[in-house]
């Protein structure tokens, strides 16, 4: 039938420009380093890049990235949940406006938002002066704290939206029932609202944690080269100033993809329930 065949061009595009590149990424990851970055010496294939990826130096970078991403996710959750909750309890008309207000910064360029934060963290900026006059070290710039803040700033909306959409569908009569039965508002929150919005929380955490792992802009812009993450590591293999190593970078990318797929398959059920996948 004609309408079914409509899906072909779009799907072929994805196959050609998404799946085929992934295949090529795989081929690169098992080939030897050639004279030029784009050389593909596939025969014989080698697993040396994957072995190299598990070298302790790199493993420490992975662990550091996970810590950074995990901390950022946690902060986003703590900041974002009350906001999502607050918006979901507003009357419908007001909700749209407040939601839009949350997303307006997000709808502008990721780069611009990171840059805006960058300007604030410079030593001779408003905040820098404030901090040093308070006696706090003004080394927010070029440090992991700056990068952490940058991550939270850039990815907070990704946490708020999934939680909000789950809370929006939440049946608050359950809470009424609990209060009728004698529970305090706090108790009903922790025993009813929180567990039932769990799928939204998982979705939000996933949509923050996963992109942060692969992010190479924020650590580079706000970390001044002192904050190595998985993202910057991969970028360095392809576009770095020092030795580039495309096959190694390809192996790293595929390993990152494997981790992401693991996360998604582990939380597949929750993500499905939150209707985000």
């Amino acid at each position: 039938m004609f309408t079914k065949r409509l899906l072909l061009p779009g799907f072929l595009w994805i196959c050609c420009f998404f799946f085929v590149p992934l295949l090529i990424l795989f081929l690169f990851s098992i080939s030897r380093v050639g004279n030029f970055p784009t050389d593909l010496s596939l025969f014989p294939p080698t697993l040396e890049h994957y072995k190299q990826a598990f070298d302790p130096i790199y493993v420490s970078i992975y662990l550091y990235s996970f810590k950074l991403a995990g901390l950022s996710t946690l902060i986003c959750l703590v900041l974002g949940f009350p906001l999502a909750f607050f918006i979901s309890k507003l009357p419908p008309k007001k909700r749209q406006i407040y939601l839009l207000l949350v997303f307006l910064p997000f709808l502008t360029s990721f780069l611009v938002r990171t840059y805006a934060w960058f300007t604030l963290l410079r030593p001779n900026s408003v905040i820098g002066q404030l901090l040093s006059s308070l006696g706090v070290q003004d080394s927010f710039m070029s440090s992991s704290s700056g990068v952490l803040l940058g991550f939270v700033y850039d990815y907070l909306p990704f946490m708020i939206l999934p939680i909000y959409s789950v809370l929006e569908r939440f049946d608050f009569r359950l809470v009424e029932a609990a209060i009728d039965l004698g529970a305090s508002p706090l108790q009903s929150f922790f025993h009813i609202v929180l567990p039932l919005s769990f799928t939204g929380i998982i979705a939000g955490c996933t949509f923050v944690f996963v992109p942060i792992l692969g992010d190479c802009i924020v650590p580079r812009m706000l970390g001044g080269g002192k904050v190595p993450t998985i993202g910057t590591l991969i970028e360095d293999q392809f576009l770095g100033q020092l030795r580039v190593n495309w096959p190694f970078g390809a192996a790293l990318s595929l390993l990152l993809m494997a981790i992401v797929l693991l996360i998604f398959s582990r939380f597949h059920k929750q993500l499905k329930d939150s209707q985000w996948l």
Partner: protein
């Protein structure tokens, strides 16, 4: 009298929560607001406010490279929005009509570009294009080749976004109108053209606006596909290079504010269109 469904705690905790919410909103907006304010600062020192002036904005337009980047960004955005809207809508409709055992997996496969980290997709495209497509593209000329690469990158993820949005609308759409059309003797194509697509129009348009915005603002995919900027620049890439070379400068502030303004206008238009359609 307290509403029964009020889960909010009373007293101090409530005040703390309200404070937290206000602070979070402030956190989201303060850097951007400060950026915009200082872009009008005629002094180049970040701290001292001299006077209100447009001079940095004017300096931007004198900059030929920047104007070229802007044009590049717009060209890429229009082409990729057009292509991805076409392909994505078709994909969504096709998937909706296909009701066999594969349709679920196909849907998930179609969303994969959004799910995987952008860096993986961008690098894959870098390898694919630079290794296998370059010779072919270059026959069109160097600039067209770079632009083609960027467009391909943008379409690949925009496609999935549009697919998601239109598919969502399709799920909630009232199928009885389509059935009525078929009962009245319309062919599949006529039903599609005269019934389905007009009903989907708000979703398609807001999806297209989103893709345009994403393409304009995109840095990641563009950066990798052009291997760090081999001559072909879009606006975000230009900003990144300026920042990498000069750090913070008022011109960059002006540029960033301009980008914010363009994005804001597009969002406003999309918002108005959306509300007009539903009313």
């Amino acid at each position: 009298m307290r509403k029964k469904s009020d889960v909010l705690p009373s007293g101090f905790l409530l005040k703390a929560l309200k404070l937290e919410i206000i602070l979070t909103y402030a956190f989201l907006y303060i850097p951007v607001v400060i950026l915009i304010i200082y872009s009008f600062n005629s002094s180049s020192q970040a701290l001292t406010w001299e006077s209100f002036s447009f001079k940095w904005y004017l300096a931007l337009f004198d900059n030929e490279d920047l104007v070229v980047s802007l044009m590049n960004s717009l060209k890429v955005a229009f082409v990729s929005t057009f292509l991805s809207t076409l392909l994505g809508t078709a994909l969504a409709i096709g998937l909706d009509r296909l009701k066999n055992k594969y349709s679920n997996s196909l849907e998930i496969l179609s969303i994969l570009p959004l799910v995987l980290p952008e860096i993986v997709m961008s690098i894959g495209l870098l390898l694919f294009i630079s290794r296998f497509c370059r010779p072919f593209f270059e026959s069109f000329g160097f600039e067209a080749a770079s632009m083609l690469g960027v467009v391909i990158g943008h379409v690949t993820f925009s496609l999935s976004y549009i697919m998601l949005i239109v598919r969502g609308k399709l799920r909630h759409m009232d199928k009885s109108l389509e059935e009525a059309a078929k009962d009245l003797g319309a062919t599949a194509f006529q039903t599609l053209w005269k019934v389905t697509i007009p009903l989907l129009a708000p979703a398609i348009l807001s999806g297209a606006a989103l893709c345009f915005l994403l393409s304009l603002d995109d840095f990641y995919v563009t950066y990798f596909v052009t291997a760090g900027g081999s001559g072909f620049h879009t606006l975000p890439m230009y900003l990144y290079n300026m920042q990498a070379r000069n750090g913070v400068s008022p011109e960059i502030n002006a540029l960033a504010s301009l980008l914010l303004l363009i994005s804001g206008i597009i969002v406003a238009i999309a918002f108005i269109l959306q509300n007009k359609k539903t009313s």
